[in-house]
Structures are given as structure tokens and as C-alpha cells.
């Protein structure tokens, strides 16, 4: 067994080095030798202000996103609310809409003479806009609505994995409440920490929303350095403070993860006590959900549907881009597979301490996560576009799925790490003693129990890869047409109707395969239950 485990660790670390560490280090070295300490076109005071401004903005977004995600996850898992899985599916829909499109829709909806204001101006005798939304408010709103499904899914998984016997163990203590609180905190703080880190970094590094509402934040400055001034060194230098902040934060999470007292049991079917909702509570919840769904889902989608003038456009559009759709789905599928396999292998190796470099790999993953995707793309070009490498690697686009998979790899590793930490090693040891091979025990004793998490990670990863624009643009081979690039190039010259058709198409392209996979998954579960005679 140890040999196979070591092989897996070495293989995953080697792959990760080739895929991420070497290209990034190569870029850093190139920048260091060519333009060391190049000016960033921004004064230190301005930078400090910008950093603080962005810090408060992202903290605000993170707080409300966690609050919303956690609250919804609690309701779906801890109450007797009916059809909670359907509600979950509905609330996850914003994940499928690219953030640029969501920002575009909301900027129109919250505009001074459009959307809500236009509606009010029709009814009320006024010529001036009645509602004035600040860029800070609008950008926060769009980011919260775009990111909350991530915290919702993470907490959904966390609540599902909580075991009733942990609560029951506290009953025997004379200070039950205090002990229970400690146990709850120790369990949930890891999920809270990881979600907060992910959302904070997402918010801090997001350029699209801030740009749409012309909010000058740190991410726009990094983008300006690269795009307006072509200052690669400036963009890298500006990424350093957030990396430093992330490292400090990660230290706490690392410390917490080292002290997990709770391991999941095996075969414990004890049901968690659910809060029984009274009819009044159920009605209130339904009303709240309807309001939220209306605001988060129905409003943008209805806006899209209303804006589409002619449905024949949609048919023509599909005819124009169907090849791009197939190619993008194929690329995202490959990228998701790579990301899933590598993140599982890395997380397993780190959690089982197979190599003493776990913390360094996690730090590098964090660095990768914080780095703007344009810099990852440029790092790939610098590293792989070499005359002594075979031509097909760069020119034919073989590296594209690898680069795409890097976008979600850090998140996937952190999520799997959290899961592996809670799976006791005794079952693997028992399997080994019974003469079962490592890969078989991995498949039957570990991966099987991670199935729900694997499915969630695959889904989010697939969506992220599918919608990724910058990397596709930077390293897609000439002549290859990918859907996001095609769509975003059409958005420029297109009418509002065309943009709406494009957005709806992108939404459908993602939702339809996911829906069929979900149905397939349900049929598999049903078959397996029938087999067991349940």
C-alpha cells in the first residue's frame, strides 16, 4: 500500500509542478530579470487607500454572501421544508450566469432612466430618477448574488455531513450546551473559514463587476497595469499584498484543520433531528423564498426574455455558434476531469502527509487562486511557447484544458482536503490488512463516501471552466472558436436583444446538460436502491 500511495503523491506533485508551479515561477523569474521593480504608475498613498477601500468592499460582500448561503443551506438541511432539493437547484441558478452578463443586466435594471426607474417614472409624475443606486451598492449586490451559491453549496455539504452522534455525545456531559457549542464551532469553522476565504478572494479579484459600475478597486488597478500600461511587473507587484493577506489567513485555517477532533463514522444512519416548521413558519419561508427567487433569478431571466425581440434570432444564433458550443463543452469536460483527478490526488497526498511539502503546495495554490487569470495565461505563454518544445503543445491548444483546470484547482483541493481530513484512516488500513489494493480501497472506501462532494465540485468546476474568458482568449490556438470568446465579442456590437439572446443561450447550454446528468444520477440511485431491495 505505501508504494502505491507514494506513487500517487509523486505523480500528483509532478503534474502540479508542470501544470502550475513551473509556468508561474518562470513568469516571476522573467519579470524579475527583465523589469525588476518597474514603477506601477500609482503612488503608495493611492495604493493604500485603494487596498483599504477594496478590503472593506470585499469584507462586506463576504459577510452578506456567507449569511445568505449559510442561512439557505440551514433551512434546506435542518427543517422539514418540502421540496428542499428543488429549492436548492433554483437558488444555484446564478452560478450558471457569467458575472459579466449579470452585471450588465443589473446595471440596466438599476440605471437612472432604465429598469426600475423607468417603471417608476411611468407611474409617478416625475422627470428625475427616483432611485439612485450608488456604484458601491450595485456592485455589492451583483457580487453577492453571483457568489452566494458557492457558500450555499459548501454549507449544504457541511450540514449534510454533520453526524447526530456528535451532538448526542455531548448529552452525557453536565455542561452540555457549552460542549455542544464547542463541538459545533470546531466542526463548522473550517467550512466557514474556507468559504470566507474563497468568497473574499473572488470578490477582491473580480474586475468585471467593478468595471461595469466604474468602482475603482484593487482588481481594476491590477487590470489597468496589465491592460492599459502593459506593465506585467506592476500587475505582479500589486498582487503581492493580497497574497500576503491570504497566507496569513491560510495559516489560521491550517491551524484549525490540524485540530479536527471529529471524524465521520461509517454506516451511521442515525437521522439528524429536523426542526418541525409550523404552517405560519412554512408560509413565511415560502414568501421569503419567492421574494429571493424573484429578485435573484426571475428578475434577470425575465429581463432577458423580455429583451429578446425576435425568437428567430435565437435560431440563427444557434446555427452560428453550435460548433463553438460543442467545442466549449468538450474543453470544459476535459478541464473538469483534469481538475478533479489532480485535486483529489493532491488533497489526498496532503491530508495523509505523504510528502512533507503539503503546506507549500497549499500556499502555492492560494497564490494561483489570487493571481489574475490574465497573468496565468501569460505565464503559460512564456513557459510553453518555447522553440524547443514540440509545436503542438502550444500551437495546437493542448495546454488549454490544463490552463482552464487551474482556475478551479485551488478551490477543489481545499474542499477535498476538508473532506479527507474527516475521513478516518483506519478503514484504509483495514482494507490493506485484508489484502485489498490501494486503488481499490481508495475507490470503495474513500471516493464512494465523497461522491456528493465530488459531484458538487465537478459541477462548479465545469461552469467555471466553461465561462472562463481571459485564459481562453490568451492561449486558444488560432482558428479555434470558443463560445465565451465568441459571445463576448458579439456583446460589443450587438443590440440589447442580441445580448439577451446570447446570455440566455449560454445559460441554457450549461443548464441542459447538467439537468440531464442530474436525471441520470437520480435513475442510478433508484436502480441501486431497487437492487438493495429498499
Amino acid at each position: 500500500m505505501p508504494d502505491s500511495r507514494q506513487t500517487l503523491a509523486i505523480f500528483s506533485i509532478l503534474t502540479f509542478s508542470i501544470m502550475a508551479i513551473l509556468p508561474i515561477l518562470f513568469l516571476v523569474a522573467t519579470v524579475f530579470f527583465n523589469h525588476f521593480l518597474a514603477p506601477t504608475n500609482i503612488s503608495f498613498t493611492e495604493l493604500q487607500l485603494l487596498f483599504l477601500n477594496s478590503f472593506f468592499f470585499s469584507s462586506n460582500v463576504t459577510f452578506f454572501t456567507l449569511f445568505l448561503g449559510m442561512g439557505l443551506a440551514w433551512i434546506f438541511t435542518r427543517t422539514t421544508l418540502r421540496h428542499s432539493f428543488i429549492w436548492l437547484g433554483l437558488f444555484c441558478l446564478p452560478l450558471f450566469i457569467p458575472i459579466n452578463i449579470l452585471a450588465n443586466i443589473w446595471s440596466h435594471f438599476l440605471g437612472n432612466h432604465t429598469g426600475l426607474n423607468a417603471l417608476l417614472l411611468k407611474w409617478l409624475p416625475s422627470t428625475e430618477p427616483l432611485l439612485n443606486f450608488s456604484p458601491w451598492f450595485s456592485a455589492s449586490l451583483v457580487q453577492i448574488m453571483s457568489f452566494y451559491p458557492i457558500s450555499l453549496l459548501i454549507f449544504y455539504a457541511a450540514f449534510l455531513r454533520w453526524e447526530q452522534h456528535w451532538s448526542e455525545a455531548c448529552y452525557f456531559s453536565s455542561y452540555y450546551k457549552k460542549l455542544h457549542r464547542i463541538v459545533l464551532w470546531r466542526y463548522y469553522r473550517n467550512y466557514l473559514g474556507i468559504s470566507a476565504l474563497l468568497i473574499f478572494v473572488f470578490s477582491f479579484s473580480d474586475f468585471a463587476v467593478a468595471d461595469m459600475f466604474q468602482l475603482h478597486v484593487y482588481a481594476t488597478e491590477v487590470f489597468l497595469q496589465l491592460s492599459a500600461y502593459s506593465n506585467l511587473s506592476g500587475a505582479l507587484i500589486l498582487s503581492l499584498p493580497i497574497i500576503l493577506m491570504g497566507i496569513i489567513y491560510l495559516f489560521f485555517i491550517y491551524h484549525w484543520l490540524e485540530h479536527i477532533p471529529l471524524s465521520n463514522g461509517y454506516g451511521n444512519n442515525r437521522q439528524i433531528t429536523l426542526k418541525i416548521l409550523s404552517p405560519v413558519q412554512t408560509t413565511t419561508l415560502y414568501l421569503l423564498f419567492l421574494f429571493l427567487i424573484g429578485m435573484i433569478i426571475v428578475l434577470p431571466i425575465s429581463y432577458l426574455l423580455i429583451t429578446i425581440d425576435s425568437w428567430t434570432n435565437m435560431g440563427q444564433l444557434i446555427q452560428l455558434v453550435w460548433q463553438d458550443i460543442i467545442l466549449s463543452l468538450f474543453l470544459s469536460f476535459i478541464a473538469t476531469t483534469i481538475c478533479l483527478l489532480l485535486s483529489l490526488a493532491l488533497a489526498y497526498s496532503i491530508s495523509r502527509k505523504l510528502k512533507p511539502m503539503g503546506i507549500w503546495i497549499r500556499l502555492f495554490l492560494l497564490f494561483l487562486f489570487i493571481l489574475p487569470s490574465s497573468l496565468i495565461g501569460i505565464a503559460y505563454i512564456h513557459f510553453w511557447n518555447q522553440p524547443y518544445f514540440p509545436d503542438f503543445i502550444y500551437q495546437q491548444g493542448w495546454i488549454l484544458p490544463f490552463a482552464l483546470s487551474l482556475i478551479f484547482l485551488p478551490i477543489a483541493v481545499e474542499i477535498f482536503l476538508l473532506q479527507f481530513k474527516k475521513l478516518p484512516i483506519v478503514e484504509e488500513q483495514a482494507a490493506h490488512l485484508c489484502g485489498i489494493s490501494f486503488y481499490k480501497s481508495l475507490r470503495l472506501a474513500i471516493l464512494l463516501r465523497l461522491t456528493p462532494v465530488i459531484k458538487i465540485v465537478s459541477l462548479i468546476c465545469f461552469i467555471f471552466c466553461f465561462n472562463e474568458l481571459t485564459i481562453s482568449l490568451l492561449i486558444s490556438p488560432p482558428g479555434l472558436s470558443i463560445l465565451p470568446v465568441r459571445l463576448f465579442s458579439m456583446v460589443h456590437y450587438g443590440s440589447q436583444s442580441l445580448i439577451a439572446s446570447l446570455s440566455l443561450l449560454q445559460l441554457l447550454v450549461l443548464i441542459i446538460p447538467v439537468f440531464f446528468l442530474y436525471r441520470y444520477n437520480l435513475s442510478l440511485i433508484k436502480k441501486s436502491q431497487e437492487k438493495k431491495g429498499l
Binding site: N112, F392, V485, F488, G494
Partner: protein
């Protein structure tokens, strides 16, 4: 089994490479920031007439059409592109400064004015767009229509005008041209007046077009192709070519620019493409398209949907200086706008 799999994979890779080597002989790789619906028909026309396959990489507005410039800079040591066809000129000048472009004197380049081509022959201008004022006719009546850049600072229009972010695209180039023409003092004064008059800065020209079309702003500064798109959509807008008085500044033209990349993999095909693109017939095609590109070759018919651009009073600028003062212009803009 493993050996067999390895052998098959190796064979596949070799076959894949050989086939790609063969196809490489008759192709040209073009990076373009020109909108796809404008450039794609031109590529198809070229392929049909020259039997050379065009492999294009397009840019997008979502990243301010600067993705390909960064890609070209990153690929400098081992270039993959043959031609860069840029929708404006500022970034081409930046690439020239970084020594990424190669010289080529196309026979079709000589026909145009010297201002529209580089002395060192690294780039040539073609099919321009004009910087125009787009006015919402529901909000402004004919007699009040703003017709110059000073109107943006007129208190009468307080909070009603919009301009795209000058860090990017044609607005950046336009602002640099104004900086060069007016000098630092006058340019800064104009910027301060813009800020005092609460002129809104939007992410790009497309947003200026959208928000003026929807009536959120009364007027804005944008490019002819965006303004024409708004008219095509049926928006209540009008195009105004600014500063057409005898003592006016004139309308600023921003040509597309085309250049061969230094050490391009297919130099012969690249030259053929540039000759084709600079030909009067191609400019006529571009003029008749949706973008309404204004031809720079003499005696080529202009776009039907725009007034006769040959008679327009144009801003007199030296395009070669636009890269030089771009960063200084931005520094001034940032100092004034962030305070």
C-alpha cells in the same frame, strides 16, 4: 498493453504534427481586435481569392480588446502570429515601441497620406472610425444639440453626458491626441471642467452607446460604428460630427492599423494579406459593411450611412506621437479624476 498504448499515442502525436506541418504552408495567422462580424467576411473573401487559409484569433470588449496585445508581447520570443490587425492605432504604436513589428512597404500603402502610415513602414492605417457625439433625440431637441467637445463642460448639460474610460481603446487614443494638440494646461483644464460638470465615465464606448440609446444620458462621446449600431437597432439617436466650425478642432479619425509581426512564421502569406487588406476594394467592402468604416485610400466610396467624410473637417494630429504621451495623459487624468 502499456507499451502498445504508448506506441499508439506516439504515432498519433507524430501524425498530428505532420498533418499540421503540411497545412501550415498555406495559412496565415491573424490576431485581430476588429469586431468579428466585420473582420470574418474579409477573411473569407481573402481565403476565396488567394487560396490561403486564415486562422484568426479575435479579441473581446470584455477585456477592453487588450488581450491580444498582451499575447503578442508574451509571444515575442517565439512569435506565432503573422499579422496584427488592430481596430485602432494606439496599441499598434505601443507594439512598435516594444519592437514586435516588422517593416513592410505594401504597394497599396503608398496610395494613402503619409500621416496614415509609418515612416519606418511597420504599420499602415486603413478604414477609420470617427469619434462622434451620439445624442438621444428624445432628450435633446434639434436646436440645442451639442456639436463640440466643449459642450461636455457646459453647465446646461450638468450630469447628462457620458464618456468611455480613457485608459482603454479609442477614448485613450482620442484623449492623447487632445493632450498633444492642446498641451498639458488646456487639457487639464478641460478635464477639470468635465469632472465639475459631472460627466460620467463608463466602461467602454458600447456602454456609452447603450446608455444614451436608453435615455439614461442625453449624449455621449463614442465611435461611428457604435453610433451606427444604435441607429440600426432603432434607438432614438443622432450622430453629430463634432467641431465642424471653421475655427473648430475638427473630428478625430481613428484608423484601423495593420502590421506584420517580426519573425512571423508565414511572412509571404502575411504580406499577401496586408496587400489585400490595404487594397481600395477591401476598404470599399469595409465601408459598405455595418461598421461604416471610413476609407483612407483616395477615390474610394465612403459609407452610405454616414455623411460624406471626404468633406469633413478633421483634427490634425500626428498619429506617430500618440504612443509617446499616452501614459502622461493618463497620469494627468488619474490625478484630476481621483481627487
Amino acid at each position: 498493453m502499456l507499451k502498445r498504448l504508448l506506441l499508439i499515442s506516439l504515432n498519433l502525436i507524430i501524425l498530428f504534427n505532420l498533418s499540421s506541418c503540411d497545412s501550415q504552408k498555406h495559412e496565415v495567422i491573424i490576431y485581430t481586435s476588429v469586431d468579428r462580424h466585420i473582420s470574418e467576411p474579409i477573411f473569407k473573401y481573402f481565403e476565396k481569392n488567394n487560396h490561403i487559409k486564415v486562422k484568426a484569433v479575435y479579441d473581446t470588449e470584455a477585456n477592453k480588446t487588450t488581450g491580444l496585445v498582451n499575447r503578442l508581447i508574451a509571444e515575442k520570443q517565439n512569435p506565432r502570429a503573422d499579422v496584427f490587425w488592430n481596430s485602432e492605432i494606439g496599441r499598434t504604436l505601443m507594439l512598435k515601441e516594444q519592437q514586435i513589428l516588422s517593416a513592410y512597404n505594401s504597394p497599396n500603402a503608398i496610395l494613402r497620406k503619409s500621416n496614415y502610415r509609418d515612416i519606418e513602414q511597420t504599420w499602415t492605417g486603413l478604414a477609420a472610425r470617427a469619434r462622434v457625439i451620439i445624442v438621444n433625440t428624445d432628450r435633446i431637441q434639434d436646436k440645442n444639440i451639442p456639436n463640440n467637445l466643449v459642450a461636455f463642460t457646459d453647465p446646461k448639460w450638468y450630469g447628462q453626458a457620458a464618456i468611455a474610460n480613457p485608459h482603454f481603446g479609442t477614448t485613450g487614443t482620442h484623449f492623447t491626441a487632445l493632450y498633444n494638440l492642446w498641451g498639458e494646461k488646456r487639457f487639464n483644464k478641460w478635464l477639470i471642467a468635465l469632472q465639475k460638470n459631472k460627466v460620467t465615465i463608463l466602461p467602454g464606448n458600447a456602454q456609452v452607446k447603450n446608455k444614451v440609446s436608453s435615455g439614461e444620458y442625453a449624449f455621449g462621446l463614442t465611435d461611428t460604428d457604435d453610433a451606427l449600431a444604435a441607429i440600426k437597432e432603432g434607438a432614438p439617436v443622432k450622430i453629430i460630427f463634432p467641431d465642424q466650425n471653421s475655427d473648430g478642432l475638427g473630428t478625430f479619425l481613428i484608423p484601423n492599423s495593420v502590421a506584420i509581426i517580426k519573425n512571423a512564421p508565414h511572412p509571404v502569406a502575411a504580406k499577401q494579406f496586408i496587400d489585400f487588406l490595404l487594397a481600395p476594394q477591401t476598404e470599399e467592402l469595409l465601408a459598405s459593411g455595418d461598421g461604416g468604416q471610413i476609407p483612407l485610400s483616395p477615390n474610394v466610396k465612403g459609407p452610405d450611412n454616414l455623411p460624406n467624410t471626404q468633406k469633413l473637417q478633421l483634427t490634425q494630429v500626428d498619429y506617430k506621437l500618440l504612443a509617446k504621451n499616452f501614459e502622461i495623459m493618463l497620469k494627468n487624468y488619474r490625478t484630476i479624476w481621483t481627487n
